[in-house]
Amino acid sequence: MTTPESVGRAAHEVRKLLNLVVRQPERLPELSLPDLDLTLRAARRARLLGHLGYRLRDQGSTNQLPQVALDQLHGGMAMADARARLASWELDRIAWAMSSGRQVPLVVMKGCAYLFLRLPNAPGRLFADVDLMVAENDLHYVEEVLEDMGWESAELTPYDDNYYRRWTHELPPLTHVEREVEIDLHHNILPRTARLKPSGERILAQSHRLPDSRYAVPCDEDIVLHAMVHLMFDSDLADKLRDLVDIADLLDHFAGADAAFWDRLVLRASELDLRRPAYYSLRYASRLLDTDYPERIAGEIRRWAPPWIVVRIMDRLVPRALYPQHPDLPSRATELARLLLYVRSHWLRMPPWLLAYHLSVKFLRKNLRLA
């Protein structure tokens, strides 16, 4: 029988299992068969199957798993590899299309940057789309070149197209006629209308060209801050545990190589007006995934916190939203938490008058088939 208690226990069980295997993937083979089954189902929903597969393979502990479990991990790895291959090919084609004409800087962001820099979170990571950043002045030029070379802008209603161009930090997604990968062309990491105002120019200024490549990558701090702002400011957090794992892996990697990374990160978060998302990211990475940051920056980060009541509410909502639901026993409370965080993400993305206008257009279109 489904009772509130059994739903609560199920949610707790999913979190406990995912926490264990994300932090210590080598312990996956120790799980009982039903726990292993539930872990794999939850990891699939959280898009972490390929990630776990690669971690386990690196540690050489895959041969202790039942064949059916191994097959699922291998499937997740193959899927992630395939998406990364598609993204790499798309980047290759974009580089080709942009090889003549003006040599505008092209900065790869997110998954593409992880891939090019061979960061530890790249293997097994499921790609969504290709994220590129260019200077705002170059945006139009890059769009024109790509459209000349066979990419097409998503077919949108005039309202949506205008919405993208006027209010956001990116163009409507571009897709090549022969392929399916979507390219998001950005000039910043947050919409123009967002409460926080990071400077796209500063991010570009600190980016550096990769050797033997048409592309540049952001500096290490900006790679991490972009992941942080994307998760904690610009999303509803639903099933986004993978994004927090990215952040934890990146911090571990950069700070592990150079402890002064922490100080640079703190400084950069202030420069780019990203203190609040950095605060939340560090809070939940340390609470949920055991990320350690040094005492000397803890005091500074505490000053970035919102009023304590907001922190208390976020502490209730965020873990609920991040972890996938138990596939057989979903919880209504979690759905509500996700709805609230969805509203929050819109609230942060635009001022109230624009939000009201935007939502009413969406509402009218959905219900009256207008606009």
Binding site: D37, L40, R41, V68, D71, A78, R85, P327
Partner: protein, 311 residues
């Protein structure tokens, strides 16, 4: 889970009533290399499933499953809304609800869909496959080319059924893996198979599906009992059903066979290099043929004679 000796308990060892109860609560069955957990909350298909799944080995609850699928029937409102069924996997519905009369077909297609979308540890060719004297014959074709009918005919004539849909192999190994499933016969094929063999055990005819009328043929018991026995491919035969045409088996250049095979796969491109290597190995060892047929009796006789002479 690989432990699945012939002594394992099977669906047919349960009473129909007990089976129905287990379906309601969730039942584990081994389908080739896949461990399936199936929940069915629709009384109307229990009897058919009991018949079609008679020979499948049962799995205990504490198993790592390849997938958890579920079929729920939602009651209708007389005069307003017809009853519908919802197929879901891990709590999510991959497509809209379907008319409840199609429940069996929806479940069977749903399981195929989940296998096709997830099983990237395997190379999945879009192919029927049957075994003769330890050698597998791949029959790859697009839907509508008659591969299910041909495969049903072979499996009712002494060949061992591997699958009417999935040519499954682990990249890096040469053997095909059986995934015996009920065969979904469509439209005219249903009466063709009824006429072909008195041993054909068919589920109910389901009219009005997106593929017309469908009836499921129970896989021969032997093919399920031996579903762990893999076999290497000896023959690649691309079938084409063409009305009023005499049966003919024509040798095909290997490079053409390669292209046909690679373009008739669920995940050849997704697997990249390992998919290429697997198909290359397969083409290297098997002979390639094009096969045109119209009459099933003739077709089965010709392929059986051919296989007989070639082993």
């Amino acid at each position: 889970m690989t432990a699945n000796s012939t002594g394992a308990a099977r669906v047919g060892d349960l009473s129909e009533q007990h089976f129905g109860q287990r379906l309601h609560d969730g039942i584990g069955v081994q389908i080739g290399p896949f461990a399936a957990r199936i929940v069915v909350r629709s009384e109307r298909i229990v009897e058919s499933l009991y018949r079609l799944y008679r020979d499948y080995a049962l799995l205990p609850d504490d198993t790592v499953f390849s997938f958890h699928v579920r079929l729920d029937e939602r009651r209708g409102v007389p005069g307003l809304r017809a009853p519908r069924v919802r197929f879901s996997v891990d709590g999510r519905a991959p497509h809209e609800d379907m008319p409840a009369e199609q429940a069996l077909a929806v479940l069977e297609w749903g399981i195929n869909l989940v296998i096709a979308l997830r099983s990237h540890a395997f190379l999945m060719l879009h192919s029927a496959i049957a075994e003769f004297r330890g050698h597998a014959m791949l029959l790859p074709a697009a839907p509508g080319a008659g591969k299910t009918t041909l495969c049903a005919g072979l499996s009712l004539s002494g060949w061992r059924l591997f699958s009417d849909e999935f040519g499954l192999m682990r990249p890096g190994t040469p053997d095909m893996l059986p995934v015996p499933r009920p065969l979904a016969l469509k439209n005219e094929s249903i009466s063709v198979i009824r006429g072909f063999s008195a041993n054909a055990n068919l589920g109910p005819e389901i009219p009005g599906t997106r593929k017309g009328t469908v009836a499921h043929l129970r896989p021969p018991g032997d093919s399920i009992l031996r579903s762990e026995d893999a076999a290497p491919v000896r023959w690649l035969v691309f079938p084409e059903w063409r009305p009023d045409t005499p049966c003919a088996l024509i040798e095909l250049p290997k490079q053409e066979g390669f292209m046909h095979l690679a373009t008739n796969a669920f995940n050849y491109e997704l697997l990249g290099e390992s998919g290429y290597n697997a198909v290359a190995t397969l083409i290297g060892t098997a002979s390639c043929h094009r096969f045109v047929y119209s009459d099933l009796n003739e077709a089965v006789a010709l392929l059986t004679d051919f296989a007989n002479d070639d082993t």
